[in-house]
Amino acid sequence: MPAQIFSRNANANLRVALIGITLLLFGIVAALIGLYLSPWYTEQGVAKAQPVPFSHAHHVTQLKIDCRYCHNTVERAATAGFPATETCMSCHSQIWTTSPLLQTVRDSYKNDTTIVWNRIYDLPAFVYFNHSIHVAKGIGCTTCHGQIGAMPLTYKAQPLYMGWCLGCHRDPAQNIRPRDQVFNVDYKVDSLPLADRQQLVIDYKIPTDGRLTNCYTCHR
């Protein structure tokens, strides 16, 4: 009689191994999804170092400078606009003129070289986001850019996944605000009751017939 090839526990071992492998696969998938949603991957809430340690908290909250002073194309173009060095120097040719923190800015102005900022909100090349239409329809800066007025160094306030975009495109009433509050960084969306916000959606002629969720609204 040949020797036993399989041990007494072989069947049990196999079952345990199968269950283990299945759990492991699910675990790997769950871990990947977790990583995909985590700030480690989305960079949500992660401040980046910049060539000039620009503080929105100082300029926006303490000095009360309007968003548009620097991002001056936000009302008429797709991009809000990185301020040109000339914009910085409009004030900093007069104040803090010897600050070492601003040496990069002065060099840029003097030598006509570009300050290369590290981009915080980097949309994929197949997304055609337009700032001007959102601003014109009562979507405020802080809806996407978070508490920008409280950020010393700028960070991403939203993960920028498509599901997040669609949430608002399906139901703009959750984020809409009066047009004159768009650039108010302290505005709370809840300060207007839902019924009033739904009325704003109608007043601002925001299509609710599903056009906003068509693929080609954002992908062309």
Partner: protein, 201 residues
């Protein structure tokens, strides 16, 4: 028969063993995220200055009806400062409201919300910002304000590249309103408003 079942399960599983590889493939697929094209404000290693956004060639002018020396774009007509808004701009409440918005965003940091030169930048620095509220500036042709807003003056930079001509005219109209607001005769108000002024409202 019962013993054969796990073997079949294993071979079936083995046939699907390549599936997790798809995950790796999807993770490496970024050629659509970063396409071979430029978007605004992106760096470029092709152009000498390292910028993808190109300035117009020097001395470029638009073709067609664009007139770079028109009153709308310079605040001057035949070299003289204009005394009225250009024909393209209509003076109404909307223009003044827009003017206030733009003034508060771009001008108020130095000139102050009242145009008295007490803005937050002036407050923090050594510079003295002139007030709008004096006889010279109350009587100067409005083209002057447009010209200064466009090209700058003394230590003030020009804002022609940042504020559209229509918005600059709105600001000019609003500056006139500010001047009136700080230099109005009480007797020119309606009786109701005079009562309010007396009451300190």
């Amino acid at each position: 028969m019962a013993k054969a079942a796990p073997n079949r399960t294993i071979s079936r599983l083995a046939r699907l063993a390549w599936l997790p590889l798809l995950l790796i493939l999807s993770a490496c697929h970024i050629d659509m995220y970063d396409q071979a094209k430029y978007k605004s404000n992106q760096p470029s290693d092709f152009f000498q200055d390292g910028r993808a956004m190109r300035p117009p060639v020097p001395n470029t002018v638009s073709m067609g009806t664009f007139n770079p020396s028109s009153a709308l774009l310079t605040g001057k007509l035949d070299g003289q400062l204009v005394t009225d808004l250009p024909a393209e701009i209509t003076l109404d409440a909307n223009l003044l409201a827009r003017g206030r918005t733009v003034f508060n965003a771009y001008c108020a940091p130095c000139h102050g919300l009242l145009g008295n030169g007490q803005g937050v930048i002036a407050f923090r620095g050594p510079l003295v910002v002139p007030s709008y509220h004096n006889d010279r500036l109350r009587t100067i042709p409005i083209g002057y304000f447009f010209d200064v807003a466009t090209n700058g003056i003394n230590r003030m930079y020009g804002y022609g590249g940042r504020i559209s001509p229509e918005d600059r005219w709105a600001v000019v109209a609003y500056i006139r309103a500010l001047q009136l607001s700080q230099n109005a005769d009480v007797t020119s108000l309606t009786p109701e408003d005079q009562v309010k002024v007396e009451a300190g409202e």
